[in-house]
Amino acid sequence: MRSWLKWICVCIVFATLALQTGCWDRNELENLAFVLTMGVDRSIDNKIDVVMRIAVPGNIGGPTGKTGGESITQTTKPITITARTIPEAVSLAEATVERRVDFRHLRVLIFGEEIAKEGVLPYLDVLERFPQFRRSVYIWVAKEGPARNIFLTAEPVLEKSVSRYVDDVARGVVRYGYTRMPTLHDFLNEVDNHQLNAVLPLVGVNPIVSSEKKDGSVRPLPTDKYHQEIEGNVEPGGKTLRSLPRSGGNPSEFLGIAVMQEGRLIDKWSAWDARIYGLLRDSYRGGIWVFDTPNGKGPFSVIIRRAQQPKIDVTWEGDKPFIDIHLFLEGQLLSVLALEPYVSTDRITLLESQVVDSITAETSQLIERAQKEKIDPFYLARSIQMRSLTMQEFDSLDWKNRFSGASVTVHVDFKIRRPGLRIQPRSEESR
């Protein structure tokens, strides 16, 4: 009898628990509008424009093999809401989007240039606080103009899924090293460490490519017109902040980094600088570099990989730090344009020393530039941090100021390990 009563009671409790539901947290997938990417821009009247790219699952391609949307413009729809804060924008968006807006699949947050200069940290608080946002989203900064432009023009070459597009881009960054793509988590960790400056990737919109795009279709320029457009661009692509000379494809390009000071954009570094930054910050893994041959006859290309962690030694002389940086790189020869017989045990050192010289020069130049601006995005203080005992000691370091007066020496250790499948190039004489 007693056990019978007990079971009845338990059943009633559970039944009431179960019957009260039906709402609460259960949301079927078709009741949610997933925001895949989001942009924040300074709008007029001290408000912000929040751009949300919402996935349209109906166009993604059903199970019956019907062809889905051809591009991200069909699988997603961007909407822009102007509000005071991101949460307000979200709640206003709920009023217009039929389904409930959900951020659990958000991949990237893009800040416009203007708002990045004002400071992004106030807008990141909601991302840290609200559980639907994850600390693994990427943060991008528009190189010029608002982030909304990137949304309106972005047209991936292959991908029609936005999230995969973002993932691919982030993976590609590791491959070529022209920028660095930290997640929100990495960025905030760097912001919290007062001895270094955080960086964010710059996303540019190529004016030529975006001008080719009209009414949703891309019509590449005729060659002579294209050449007119790119005239006067003497520097190789990526050396300066200018957009790449190119036509067709995706207008967005991921070159260069934005250096942030307490969440504010203070400097924009080009793609080449970004690679040097990567070498020093130890975020660089590999990439193709082009250098001039010693006799200046034509450039040669190598793949340069990081061989091991850079070694940073800081010694003090009074208040002045002496920083000794060792970079360890190794490479593989890709092409020698001059067709000169450099590929032999004695002559290949010429190429190597050429690489070492130019990387050393570029590094020193970049460090000088950083010293002038009293910033240290390279996290050179890490060796000091590893050697300091207490937090008070490290906090009172005032590294950025001291770094600006530091004397820095850079040593690069580089070997071309492999020449590839051919040994000596076909030289002029042998022909």
């Binding site: 628990l17 600390r135 207490t390 937090m391 008070q392």
Partner: protein, 370 residues
């Protein structure tokens, strides 16, 4: 002879089961706000705090071990009753029972807040609390045997997932975040470590379930294993947490270990697995909370010299629900819970010490006890 027979019937608990079971109770706080508090107390050296704390806890445990060895593994409360009479035993029973209820009530609240924040944001908190308490009663009503056997099934999965989560999480972090090595300084770290001996205060429960052990050796092993296991896991979790988060962030992070698992991503498929991890942790926590409830019922039973703890489970569970609803905000709950253990270590660690002193100084066993 008669006594021997009667003890033979009751069955014993294995030392591995007991240590994992008590360990899960010790460990509930790790899934809650504990790593953050340690970071606030000791900065980057927070991972040393459990290490320092465990030394103090081991000393206390050896006192407890010595005491139970002297009294052939009688419960602490029975020893107290032997020294000071049933009234004191009664009062101590009520005291310890209410302390256990206090702990498990607050843990219940924070656990519910955790579930609400991570898994079910719109579910009423009472539903989570009540369903968890019902589960706890069901677990505890079978006694320590059922608790320990349940955890024996969950523990392998739980430990594997915990280790995986923390290892994956660790690969997301950098070792630079662990430095400067001494946090706020040597003495600060040391004093924080001593203060946080309270991390292991649930070990006192061993003193109440001592009659369950077959031999003193098992009791000693079980206690040491609990301490070592908890210390290793605390340190591991703390190290990973600090590696993942710059210390300034780490001091302000809600539900620290959950945040660590949220960082885990390998390529496109292996990411956002945190509900899975939470799932496993919460199952370990549910057993831990049940152990707390069981501890409360058991101490009450021993205090009032009743024969069966089961009738007290449901009233005590209702009390723990009441306790869990005392704090009006989750912030209050977390704040109160962060200093309750400091105070609680006075009675928890004090009782065995006083009992041992008393037994050495004043107590003379009667020669011809029947």
């Amino acid at each position: 002879m008669n006594q021997k027979n009667s003890t033979k019937r009751q069955g014993y608990v294995g030392w591995i089961e007991a240590s994992i079971c008590i360990g899960s109770f010790v460990h509930v706080k790790m899934f809650l706000a504990n790593p953050r508090e340690l970071c606030q107390m000791a900065g980057t050296a927070a991972w040393m705090v459990p290490l320092i704390g465990v030394i103090g806890a081991i000393v206390i445990f050896f006192i407890l071990n010595h005491l139970t060895a002297t009294f052939s593994r009688a419960s602490l409360l029975s020893i107290a009753g032997l020294f000071w009479g049933p009234t004191i035993q009664f009062l101590l029973g009520i005291l310890f029972s209410s302390l256990f209820i206090l702990i498990s009530g607050y843990e219940l609240r924070i656990f519910a807040e955790f579930v609400l924040t991570t898994l079910l944001p719109q579910t009423p908190i009472s539903i989570v609390v009540i369903s968890m308490v019902v589960l706890n009663i069901y677990l505890a009503i079978g006694g320590f045997e059922s608790l320990s056997r349940t955890i024996m099934i969950i523990a392998p999965i739980g430990l594997t997932v915990l280790t995986l989560a923390l290892t994956f999480g660790g690969t997301m972090g950098t070792v630079y975040n662990l430095s400067p090595w001494l946090g706020y300084g040597f003495w600060d770290t040391l004093s924080a470590g001593l203060l946080y001996t309270s991390l292991y205060e649930e070990i006192i429960l061993l003193g109440f379930i001592a009659p369950l052990f077959r031999e003193q050796k098992d009791f000693r092993r079980s206690g040491l294993a609990t301490l070592v296991l908890s210390a290793v896991l605390f340190v591991f979790a703390q190290v990973v947490y600090e590696m993942c988060f710059q210390i300034q962030s780490a001091q302000q992070m809600g539900f620290p270990l959950f945040q660590v698992t949220r960082l885990i991503r390998f390529e496109t498929f292996l990411q956002r697995l945190d509900p899975m991890f939470v799932f496993v942790w919460a199952s370990v926590s549910s057993v831990g909370l049940a152990v707390g409830l069981y501890g409360a019922a058991l101490t009450l039973t021993q205090g009032i010299r009743a024969t069966d703890f089961r009738p007290y489970l449901i009233p005590l569970a209702v009390l723990s629900i009441c306790v869990s609803f005392i704090p009006p905000r989750s912030l209050d709950a977390v704040n109160t819970y962060s200093f309750i253990p400091w105070l609680l270590q006075i009675p928890f660690y004090g009782l065995p010490v006083i009992l041992l002193l008393w037994s050495k100084l004043f107590y003379r066993p009667q020669e011809n006890r029947p």
